[in-house]
Symmetry: D2
Subunit: 133 residues, 4 copies
């Protein structure tokens, strides 16, 4: 099972921060997605090309635990892993860390179905199974 | 020339507000779009159905002047007009007003091309010309 | 424990929909927040006023299960409940339903800490405990 | 008058793209802001620190012309200039170019007031005047 990590650095944008002065909790799901995009690119299967090939990975479950706030202009690191591949589903796990101060900011998961252009379930392509190796 | 106004009420959402405590300037373009969507629905041409018919209205120019800030949980009103129809282009004009306190918060325009599913320009459909009447 | 529901109707906005033609999974957390805002207003404790009083409810855990897609211009209903109040934490639960077609689109939870202006934990105010009644 | 350019590379994110398959027109204003943030950092005046010093630059006018669409996973370059400094106002100009294919995708401006923590106008600080040199 997966213990391969990849990371991407992101700088927190002004509109991602709310009036409490910290990144809004929905922003983390966008950062997870940036992490997932880079993870797949580094594994040789850019998600844009996956979709062009008629395979889509809609999110069927998403969860995030918030440990410490991110602020405007902070640099964060998203570490992405494939934590489970089962049936026609794949689960990615994420950790968001602070680049400046170190320490965990948030962690979470997204579970994805595998569907074709028609929205119907598809068998998990080999390249997705291999992401977990 | 158009002087027909339609309006829609919107409550400012938490993530639309930035760390200055006021609505981020990009939010207004989303509110303009809500105004435009309701304007077209009230005119009998819901934009979702326009796109299903193979006509798309990508924005080619957008502008906004910000007069007074909107805050979380404020109720605003977007007033939408078609201000110009020329060639294969249509321009919508917007005013955003405060429901609670009255007064203008922002005004702006969006100009749209008319294209088909292939991205190529299309003649302006009659229903769009009539929006300006 | 809570079984009080409140609901708010939301029309899906154009930028909330992604290139799969369905609402992006991060949008649901913003809709949950709209539901929570209206729930608290209907209970007589508008969240804007809670923050003005120096009490903040940052999200410490968020989760969503996606059952069926929402599309541009669909009308959805968010039903909000307080499902748990414990220590200095409060958990809201949400269901998103389709107004047009009926049926569940998504469900989820957000758990919130109760902190003061200084970010330090605070005892749960009575009005929050009463939300669960 | 300004002719100093700085640039920042941005990869288009999945939720920034709408159901036409192209970046939503509001995304460009967020990218302009990323460009402005990096421009100021490279000039030695990180905007986060400017705000900590009690100076805020709310947008009072924003405009964008869209030339060619940006798509998911495209790499774009934002080139930022200070095009005008007058009274207590500063105008930034932006060009967005395609990294992959070259060519202009969009250009625009944002004009900012200079205000203090109280929201009242302030004299333009020297460091902002110098941005235009």
């Amino acid at each position: 099972m997966a213990d391969r990590h990849d990371e991407v650095r992101i700088r927190v944008r002004y509109p991602e921060v709310d009036r409490m002065g910290v990144a809004h909790h929905a922003s983390h799901f966008t950062w997870f997605e940036v992490g997932r995009t880079e993870f797949m690119r580094q594994r040789g299967v850019p998600y844009a090309r996956v979709e062009e090939g008629g395979i889509f990975l809609p999110v069927i479950e998403a969860t995030c635990s918030y440990v410490s706030p991110a602020r405007y202009d902070d640099v964060i690191r998203v570490l992405t892993t494939v934590s489970e591949v089962r049936g026609a589903r794949v689960t990615f796990s994420y950790q968001i860390e602070s680049e400046n101060k170190g320490g965990l900011l948030a962690k979470g998961n997204t579970t994805h179905a595998v569907v074709g252009r028609d929205g119907h379930p598809r068998r998990l392509p080999a390249f997705l199974r291999e992401l977990a190796d």
